[in-house]
């Protein structure tokens, strides 16, 4: 399938887990972010998520962001095909 690239936005599939899934209300959503010439970054995504869901900051939930199943640096550039995941503090075991 050919990917349609919007000139002004990147379109991301964003998974969320545990308490973040409860806050967002769905385990996967589609989110658009402005496409930047220098590349849209994880930091841009974080800013947008925290604007949309201020309760994440209010509850001081440390949110990790994974890109393609790896924890990403804030400066990492993200693109249309990337799989994004929002990860609250982990508690396995």
């Amino acid at each position: 399938m050919e990917q349609q690239h919007h000139p002004q936005f990147i379109t991301l599939k964003v998974k969320s887990f545990a308490i973040l899934k409860d806050i967002i209300g769905t385990k996967q959503m589609t989110l658009q972010l402005p496409r930047k010439d220098e590349g849209t970054t994880v930091a841009d995504l974080r800013t947008r998520i925290l604007e949309l869901y201020p309760i994440i900051s209010e509850q001081r939930i440390a949110m990790g962001i994974a890109v393609n199943a790896k924890i990403a640096n804030e400066k990492s550039v993200i693109n249309d095909l990337d799989e994004i995941a929002l990860l609250p503090p982990i508690s396995g075991g």
């Binding site: 545990a18 990790g64 804030e74 396995g92």
Partner: protein, 141 residues
């Protein structure tokens, strides 16, 4: 080998998976659902995982454990879904030439699982309902 399972964990099978004729020591660790936490009575725990990332994180922990402790074999499994009190939530088996490495590797692996593998638990607290447990923030890369 590592797996995430919705089915009860068979710890004896896990131990069988690390059988090795060159090993002189094998250890099995398993964690079970406890009926209390932080002064609250717990009646059940629900576990959720980001399976793809958990498998990758575990493969790394396995490779590093095997290398660091010169293990013969390594096997681990984490359960997801609804668990009752006393059920096994996580299990690790390792085999090595001598006991010291096996004990240390088991401890090392469970500590890393708890701090690096994207799995979350929601405790059903008597009288309060389900509450996601406080956890360890995932380290930035």
């Amino acid at each position: 080998m590592f797996s995430i399972s919705e089915h009860p964990i068979d710890v004896e099978m896990l131990l069988a998976n690390v059988k090795d004729d060159s090993a002189g020591a094998s250890i099995l660790f398993f964690g079970t659902v406890r009926n209390h936490n932080d002064g609250n009575a717990i009646t059940a725990i629900y576990y959720e995982a980001y399976v793809k990332m958990a498998e990758e994180a575990m493969a790394k922990i396995e490779a590093e454990s095997v290398k660091r402790w010169n293990l013969k074999k390594f096997a681990a499994v984490h359960r997801i879904g609804n668990l009752k009190i006393g059920e096994v939530s996580v299990a690790i088996a390792v085999s090595s030439e001598h006991r010291a490495e096996a004990f240390e590797a088991g401890r090392y692996a469970i500590d890393r699982i708890k701090s690096e593998v994207p799995i979350w638990k929601k405790e059903t607290i008597s009288g309060k309902g389900g509450i996601w447990a406080q956890g360890t923030p995932m380290a930035g890369g």
